[in-house]
């Protein structure tokens, strides 16, 4: 078979490991041939197709980024003929199936294409860990590791200066990275969108920590808003062009804490360093297993399905499970974390 791969949406450590494993599996087990669509669906629409022979994937297990590039292009956004263009690209190159590697948006698109008869299988990708269809995906572990190392450093600086440190980590709609990196680094408060603390509660935990002669470390998911935020609390975050500004919620919370608790307080935004760079061993193994399983799935006629992790096993599930099915931090994981606050 001739299989096309694409990576779509935000960068995520492990994308190249998926690509490499798929090519090795297909080459050795099925004698498949591989190509890549450049920059996600854009390559499928615009006929930007490159061969991906086995020698091209050498050393890719550990390489961050994606050799295929990525974008947020979408065949259904192009006045309706995007799907026809994808079909034409496939015919022109005699492509038998597509492996789409991406998050919920990408998998939603993959599913729509599959229902229209285009043989697409999915590989889930989410740094934020917000897909309920799989226990974990690659990228999350790396992001947690980088965030944890950075929080370790901030905590030491806070202790030396007797300061409160507020650190903003990724997570627009879910708090998994904040929960895990905060728990790993011994944070004294963790603020996540799913269970929004009030400003009073945050300041109480900071005060308790301070009373024990410790320098408070507050970890905040970027999508967090305090329960008692007044209207317009986050409005400042858009600049005059309506684009999100750097330094959203951490920058807002820090002066509030400083004023209410009376401790010098500093904000840090970890930002893009969390999603770039080399994947951890965990993420490389998971991405490699996903890549191999995706090729097996193609050969099992798995159009409309995606690979997923359940416990320690790689399984496959309908793409629809990835859609409108966000994985939020659960009540018991939250209660577990709260025990460690203050």
């Amino acid at each position: 078979m001739k299989i096309a791969m694409l990576t779509s949406g935000g960068d995520c450590p492990g994308l190249n490991a998926v690509i490499r494993a798929a090519v090795l599996r297909g080459d050795r087990t099925y004698e498949d041939e591989f190509v890549g669509f450049l920059d996600g669906w854009r390559g499928a629409i615009d006929d930007a197709v490159v061969p991906v022979p086995r020698r091209r994937v050498r050393g890719l297990a550990r390489l961050g980024g994606t050799i295929l590039g990525t974008s947020r292009a979408n065949p259904f956004h192009d006045d309706g003929d995007g799907v026809a263009l994808v079909r034409e690209t496939m015919e022109r190159h005699e492509i038998d199936a597509i492996i789409a590697i991406g998050g919920d948006g990408t998998l939603y698109t993959a599913n729509r294409l599959a229902t229209q008869g285009i043989p697409v299988v999915g590989v889930p990708k989410t740094v934020d860990n917000d897909l309920a269809a799989t226990d974990y995906t690659f990228g999350f572990d790396t992001a947690v590791e980088i965030a944890t190392e950075s929080l370790d450093r901030l905590r030491m600086t806070g202790e030396s200066h007797h300061r409160c440190m507020v650190a903003e980590v990724m997570g627009r709609s879910v708090g998994w990275i904040a929960l895990h990196s905060g728990m790993a680094s011994g944070a004294h408060v963790i603020c996540i969108p799913e269970f929004p603390l009030s400003i009073d509660e945050i300041c109480d935990y900071v005060q308790q920590t301070w009373d024990r002669k410790r320098a408070p470390l507050v970890v905040v998911a970027e999508g967090f808003t305090p329960r008692d935020a007044p209207p317009g609390f986050r409005d400042y975050e858009l600049d005059e062009f309506g684009r999100p500004r750097l330094g959203g919620i951490a920058q807002t919370l820090a002066p509030i804490i400083e004023e209410r608790v009376g401790i010098e307080t500093r904000a840090t935004v970890l930002g893009h360093i969390q999603r770039g760079g080399e994947p951890t061993g965990y993420d490389r193994v998971l991405a490699t297993r996903f890549g191999m399983a995706a090729v097996d799935l193609v050969h099992r006629q798995g159009a409309g399905r995606m690979v997923a992790l359940r416990g320690t096993a790689i399984v496959d599930v309908p793409l629809t499970e990835a859609i409108d099915n966000p994985k939020r931090v659960t009540r018991d994981r939250w209660d577990e974390a709260v025990t460690l606050f203050g």
Copy 2:
């Protein structure tokens, strides 16, 4: 309640994170008091008991090693009165329950004590990932990460020198660390005890890799013996005192590969650096959750049981599940890996 903790067996990143989380959970949720037995069961037998108040566990989430020390002492090895001594120590200090953190040997001892009426709960610990009772435990992820980073380095050196590199990683009876770190680093052959390759097969993979102009990287679990090893193949590994020598199987394989394939070949033994040092974020989170769950288990009258990971959930299972129930690399995980060889 007054709860005693102990760490027993080999060092493992995350032990201190378990201790810290147990104390925080017990202190805040149940008003428990904590002590530690020093150096594993030895402290319980010899009445070496130290208080572990909350302020003692500050900053422990990231600290490698164990503040309680460890040893291989065992109350059942002391002419039979070890159990009575443990009982006396508990009475003297009014200890209500024990949290035993250790591998299969420790958990076996814990179970025997529990059947004799001593309230012990277990926390599984195994760098090697060889306990079937839990999906993973803390320490394994850190070991894989360190091994992977080291293999990345060896691979580059091998490429520069056009050499074959043979790297020995931990794993006396199971090959999990070799499997994961080998897969993560793109090794060309992985040798594990569960599915022993022959010397011919190893040399064939090395040759294939060489033929593609690549520098072969061979990862070997320390407990591996080739399928076709002649009698006495590993005898050299004991010195005159009957102790295992450094540099066992890698050192043996390297000259064999060099001679048969005709490529300059070098051996490296990663050794103890795999089990020391700071835990990864993954291991810190898992160890923290285990520590908290162990205290809950004590309060649920869980004597004779241990905490375990199933998927993403912390559950509890009988200690007997950890005994005589090693987790070996499965056939499908092995087949998956073999696809990537050569």
Copy 3:
């Protein structure tokens, strides 16, 4: 002798290594006794003095932060009687000499005290590398290493997304961290205060990089202002309380580059993670040598002098050399860097 140590000014990896080495040297070579002033000069003024026996410095070589705490207190800012209070504290504790570890401000204070007869020797500390009196100090290497790793990650993300990445690193008045981390990570433009590029020049380099199908990486020292900045260019950086805002120059440059060059552009501020955490091996060795040399200097009656690195040798120089003598990036180091731009 009885020697007091203090750490003053911003946090810096290696402070604890200096403290440890001083104590070991003094204890073993001279039978000195050590105490610490808490939180810099504040401890000397307010009589906050703790003993620092040898067992207290165990394991400190690698520990980030400072066990003595730090602040920006200054005996000359306290209505004039601060010096008398320092003298009283010294007499009360029978302290023979002070080792002051800090940046130019601290060393200026140390020199003023020395001229008033208080026996103070200095250890230079500057993450920014802005002291001409010494080739390097501890902390700078760690900051460059952390910045370089972060820039590596940003660069990969930029490549995947075909974006320009703008990264802000430390350096209010000098560009050493930007110069070294930018050179190490292969940045396409480096913006430093000493040789300010114009906005046009920056955009030209970004454009050249883009034309070669690369994702531009721009590294900016926090204190950089473009040569052609209009009046008020950086005013936005103070909030209503007059405090510096997070995300100064990177956040300002990113939308300008995006608009002029027409490439999607993202800003990241590395912030405090650069100055916290464990020192690199380089910084630990340098800090250890400084700590030992400072004690030797005390015993050589070196009041008014400080230790310094020249080539590979530790020497001592007058404290006045550290004052009003900033080390700026030189013309030839800048020319060297410019060759690599675009």
Copy 4:
């Protein structure tokens, strides 16, 4: 000009950064053209020459290993006509000058060629830091950093198990890596070839450490032999083929310490992981500056000379300075270290 580069001798982090910087400097400043000799002098002798255009050096600043390969070939070992072959290769490709990147052997060869009229300039390379002609070279800092991280881990494991840990690091004839990594990790004894301790002295330091309730960490340079070693002490280290065995001196010392001091003792050999992998920021900057300076040196008609670091400046010196001029650990650096023992 057309310039050929070669990398010769052992792998060393930063080789690729030299290559990249040379090409960028030559391309932009002088419009030079670059080629590479494959596998060191072998490529010059056998006419294995590849073009190295600017696009080939993309991303090389951080890549470990060497894209040109390396070997221990030598034009003067080939029955005398090697030099003629080098000359022919140069003429065939119209090569104007050679940049030879290597250790003392390579630089010795470079100098002999230069005296015979072949325009060669040198870039010093030594992981061991054993060249007196330069303060430091790239690779050493990375090796120290990797060794330090590994020693940190071993130390924690030793503490948990109440064991003595013996770690062997690189350094056949000089002890710089042992000195720096041992000092950085707080080792209790450091054994180097320049100032050989006796077995009694080593055991005394181990005993002192043990008496203070610490787990002794002994760092040994691979080339160390105790002052009082009996004849044949290290003979075991060659196998039946006369090749050096893995695990030389650490493996020998460990059981001796265990027997004499009566503490469980374990040996670890860090081996090749110290010289592979990504260079630190420090090494990347130094390698980049060397690469650029080497091209400038070519254009200044610098045949027979090499670049070197003096303090913070890049200078050039005769190649003869690198020959028969090893840089050994000095008495004062040794005395400094000894203060920290025990």
